[in-house]
Each structure stands twice: as structure tokens, then as C-alpha cells.
Symmetry: C2
Subunit: 332 residues, 2 copies
């Protein structure tokens, strides 16, 4: 089975949002009048972003999910994507499962595969995704990293820290109860891109970024682009960890024996969360709640934007905490 | 030096054709009114598409060139590209040379780097490129593979076969005079995407494809999409090999001791040529010549489209030749 057979068999499907899909030198995409195209690309490498023995179905899901998460952070509506795939060998069962995981998520978002490339080589998955953002009165409605204002509330969606908890469990660094590991592993392997929330936050949020490298690390990018600082309530952030709330607070004893500092590390520097970190003025609190409800995605207020550059971490009593929570860097 | 430093130092440059370039979750591209976006992606893997010790400057050139060649085959005007890069280590001299080769070609085509991703892992380069095609009276002006008509002439641009000649020389399969290898190696390592020719052929050519996997292999894709067949003059095609004309015909003796059959293999199945293979009605011969002149790119008529499916190879005397010229498949 050669390169063209792989594409024809597993990846060639009719495109609905493209003027021309797979099978020519280029795909042709005709953006709707009055819109901009939002574009993002992510590369996933075995041993870096996933284990060699990962279920190919979850890998197909995650490869697209991390890209859709970038569209979500821009408030863009998914349209289409390209897929470049380097494969060490042609394993038909693997390809079928990978394609299935990929297309189930793609279909859920109405996002068409419109082109790609397949080659032999170490396993590597590169997806480039395209979304649409309206331009109203000459002004793009995209959510950017650069719009945060002093006084804005800082929010994070869903749960953060669970993906890293699963990673540490799978690596054997933490010993976790089976049910905890299983639940956290779903967050690591099949993250939910917050596309609906990103769309609902257009016109409400002042800035947004997706949390892929760790909450504080990605917050630093948002602050840098917005030329502002922030105060983050660390103990509010850890309430975002599903494992923390489910297994620490709901029972009378600690099932997972982690220190407060370890919980903070998971929430603040875990990485691989693919949640939205965003800002909005306090006057918009009801609108943020309405957006969260419409998107069926919980959001949590974890801090505030301030004029002075830099990040201040505080505990539940408002006491300043030393910030030794390092972001996850793919070269580390 | 981490991921973000690599991007900031070597790849972050102001975008001219994008509403928003590098530095946010997505780039924002605003296509001109009345245009379609042409999109193509290509992945280059060490050991498959280039040698480990290749000059990083030529690698930067080639990684973008193969993508621009896809735009050329569509008659699309280059606008922008994204770059995803997996690197085994951070070698600053290597990165500087790679970026230089990349940007010299990008600047020559007014094509902006608008986004990307950098990670650790086996060397892998994935570029997705964006071009613009006008839509006139609701009809896309893109050159497609599917438009060839019975009776159309078949053309190939520039030179084919030289890249494969260089590859065989570098692999030690062929012993080549140093001057021959040096000249052919330029074609292998720094191919010229035929963007100007693709633009000039809009409204003239009926179908086009870029020759990346070998002339006959890529012709088969064009014929399949056009539901036609073709007759190819093999001995006319070999006149397209620069090494053949320069070193075989211009001197009184054969400097390169290849059989006619070997020359045919180079021209018809060489691969890595990044030339345009295109069709046009005989009534457009003057227009094709004018396009070639305007684009300063030689073109050669090497055959004809016929109604009956299938490919007929003929020699200079019009005698049918057996077709044992296999296309280069990246899984072979």
C-alpha cells in the first residue's frame, strides 16, 4: 500500500466547506464575505506529545483537538484542516483507528479535511487548521492575547491540572488510584477543545489564550501581549482540578496524598489542558456566565488583571506566594 | 534556548499580507474580495527527502519551494505560509542558515511566515502555504488537474531528470563528472518553483500539476482526474534534462555514459523536479509561448491528450515503447 492508497483509503472524504478538497495540487477555500481566516498549526511528535503505545483513536482526536483549541482561543468557527503524516510503517488497523478518532471530532465541529501529505519516517502528525472570524465595521471579532485591560477579571474554563496528573501517573512518578488515573487520562488523551465557549465569548472577553503549556506560562504570554500584570488566586485555581474536587473534598479523607504545593503545581504549570484562559471586565460577569451556560462549559474566576507588569500569586487568605511554578516547555 | 526563543530569534518577522502574524493563538488572513484561497501542505523528513548532512540553507529553500510549486500548479499567487519544525537539538548556526534559505525564497515571492510550531524530535519540516486565485463571474481561475481535453498538447516546463541524476550521483549509484554533479545538484537541492509560469498560464492552460514524484506518475494523476489518456514522446522528454543537452549533445563524445533507457528513466520517473506539467489546446500554442516568455521559463511540448484512457509512450520515430518507468513513491 503506497502513499496515494493510504490517502484514498483512510483520509479522502468529500469536503463541504471547501470549493475543492483532497486530490489536486491545492485545496481551494472560499471564505464567506466579511470574514477573516484564522489559521493555526501544531506538530505532534512521538515521545514528546504522546507515548508510542497510545491508542491511535485518542491520538487522532488529540492531534485535531489541540488545533481546534487554538481556533477556540481566537473565537473562530472551525472550517477545515490539512493533515501531514509521517509514518514508520503502514499499519492498517492503526490508520483506521487514527482516522476514526480524527473524523469523529472533525465531524462534531463541521471541520473538513481538505488536503494533506503522507510520507515514511518517524511518527509525526502536523495539522493546520482554518476557521472563520467575522469582521464587523472593519473590525475583526477575533479574540486576541493583546486585549486585557487593568481591572479585568481573569477566568479559566473547565478543568486544569488533570492532564498532568495523568501524565505523572502513567510515568510512574505518582501512584494514583485506578479510578483517578482513568478519569484524568481522559483529559490527557482526549482533551475537549472549547470551541463553543470561544464563539460565545466574542464581544464579551477582552483577551484569550488556550492553556497548552501550563496556566502561568500561557498567562505570561497574554500579559506580555497586553502589557499588563495579573494577580492569581492559586487556591482558587486548584479548585479547577477535577481530581482535586472529586477526590479530595468530596470524601472525608485524602485519597490522593498530594501536598497543597503539588496541587498548585498541577493547576498552575500542568500543561496539556487545552482550556481557555480569558479576561473580561467585571461589568461583564453576567455575560461571561451566560456564555459559559450557552457553551455548556464551566468557567472559574481565578484572578485579576493589574496595570503593573508581573505576576502576583496569592493564597486563599490573600497572602503572597513565591512563584516557583515553571511552565512546561517542549524543549525542557 | 527554548521553543519561544527559537521562534522569536529566527522566525518572527512582521507579516505584510496578514491581518495578524506570529505571536497569537492563530494568524488572521483576510483574502482580497473576489478571490479564493489555495492551500497546500508538504512534510519533509530526513533520510527520505534530504540527507542528514544537507546544507541547511538549501533545506530552508527546498522546504518552501516544494510548497510554492503546488501553488504554481494551481496558478495561485503566494501570500503566506506556516512552518512546523521538529528539531533534534538547538543548533544556532543551523537554524540561522535554514531561516536564511527559507526567507530569501519567501521574500522573492512576497510570501510571509504567519505562524508555526517548534518542538523537539527527529528533524521534520512541515510547511502549509496559502495563495490567492481570482474568481471571475463566479468561476475560479485556478488551474486544476481535471481540465485536460482530448487533442490538447502536453507540455513540461524547465528541466526534468536532473534532480534524480544528482541523487544517484550522491548515492554513488552513478559516477558523474564533478561539473555535471554540481549542476544537477542545484536542481535537486534548490528547485525553482514555477510560480510566474503558473500565473501566466491562467486562462491558457486547461490543466496543470507539478512534477514531484516523476513525470509519468504525476501525469497519471492528471489523466485520472481529467478522465483522458495521453501519448508521450519519450525522446522529446529526455531533451528536457539539462545534463543530457549540455553534456551529451553539445560535445562530440558522451561524457556521461548512460543508455537511452537510463536517460528516459531520469526524465520520465526521476522525481523531485518541481516543474509544471500542463495541457493547452493547439490553438493556444502562441499563448503558451507568450506565457513562457513572460515567465522567463522554457516549456517543451512532449505529447498529446487523447480520448482513450491510458498512456502511450513513443520514441522519436513514433514507435510504441514499453512503459517500465516507475514513479517514485515515498513509501517505496
Amino acid at each position: 500500500m503506497g502513499e496515494f492508497d493510504v490517502i484514498a483509503r483512510y483520509f479522502a472524504r468529500p469536503a463541504r466547506h471547501a470549493a475543492l478538497g483532497i486530490g489536486d495540487d491545492c485545496a481551494l477555500l472560499q471564505p464567506s464575505p466579511g470574514t477573516q481566516l484564522a489559521i493555526s498549526t501544531d506538530m505532534l511528535v512521538q515521545g514528546r506529545h504522546f507515548f508510542a503505545d497510545v491508542d491511535p483513536r485518542t491520538l487522532g482526536h488529540k492531534a485535531l483537538a489541540v488545533n481546534l483549541s487554538d481556533l477556540a482561543a481566537c473565537g473562530a468557527k472551525p472550517l477545515a484542516f490539512t493533515l501531514a503524516l509521517s509514518l514508520p510503517n503502514i499499519n492498517q488497523a492503526w490508520l483506521a483507528a487514527f482516522a476514526d478518532g480524527l473524523f469523529v471530532l472533525a465531524d462534531a465541529h463541521g471541520c473538513d479535511l481538505i488536503g494533506g501529505d503522507t510520507t515514511g519516517g518517524p511518527l509525526n502528525i502536523c495539522i493546520t487548521v482554518f476557521g472563520e472570524v467575522p469582521v464587523v465595521d472593519g473590525k475583526s471579532q477575533a479574540l486576541l492575547r493583546s486585549g486585557a485591560q487593568p481591572g479585568d477579571d481573569l477566568y479559566v474554563s473547565g478543568t486544569v491540572g488533570d492532564a498532568r496528573l495523568a501524565l505523572e501517573g502513567l510515568r510512574g512518578q505518582l501512584s494514583l488510584p485506578a479510578a483517578v488515573l482513568a478519569a484524568a487520562r481522559v483529559r490527557l488523551e482526549t482533551p475537549t477543545p472549547r470551541v463553543a465557549l470561544g464563539l460565545a465569548l466574542r464581544g464579551v472577553a477582552t483577551a484569550a489564550i488556550d492553556v497548552s503549556d501550563g496556566l502561568l506560562g500561557d498567562l505570561a504570554h497574554l500579559l506580555e501581549r497586553s502589557r499588563t500584570g495579573a494577580t492569581v488566586q492559586a487556591d482558587n485555581a486548584i479548585e479547577s482540578i477535577a481530581a482535586y474536587t472529586a477526590y479530595t473534598r468530596a470524601t472525608s479523607q485524602f485519597v490522593i496524598n498530594l501536598s497543597k504545593d503539588q496541587w498548585r503545581t498541577l493547576a498552575l504549570a500542568g500543561g496539556d489542558d487545552y482550556e481557555l484562559l480569558f479576561t473580561a471586565p467585571p461589568a461583564q460577569r453576567a455575560a461571561v456566565e451566560a456564555a459559559a451556560l450557552a457553551a455548556q462549559t464551566p468557567v472559574r474566576r481565578i484572578g485579576q488583571i493589574k496595570r503593573e507588569p508581573g505576576l502576583t500569586l496569592v493564597d486563599a487568605q490573600g497572602q503572597t506566594l513565591p512563584n516557583h511554578y515553571q511552565s512546561f516547555d517542549h524543549f525542557a
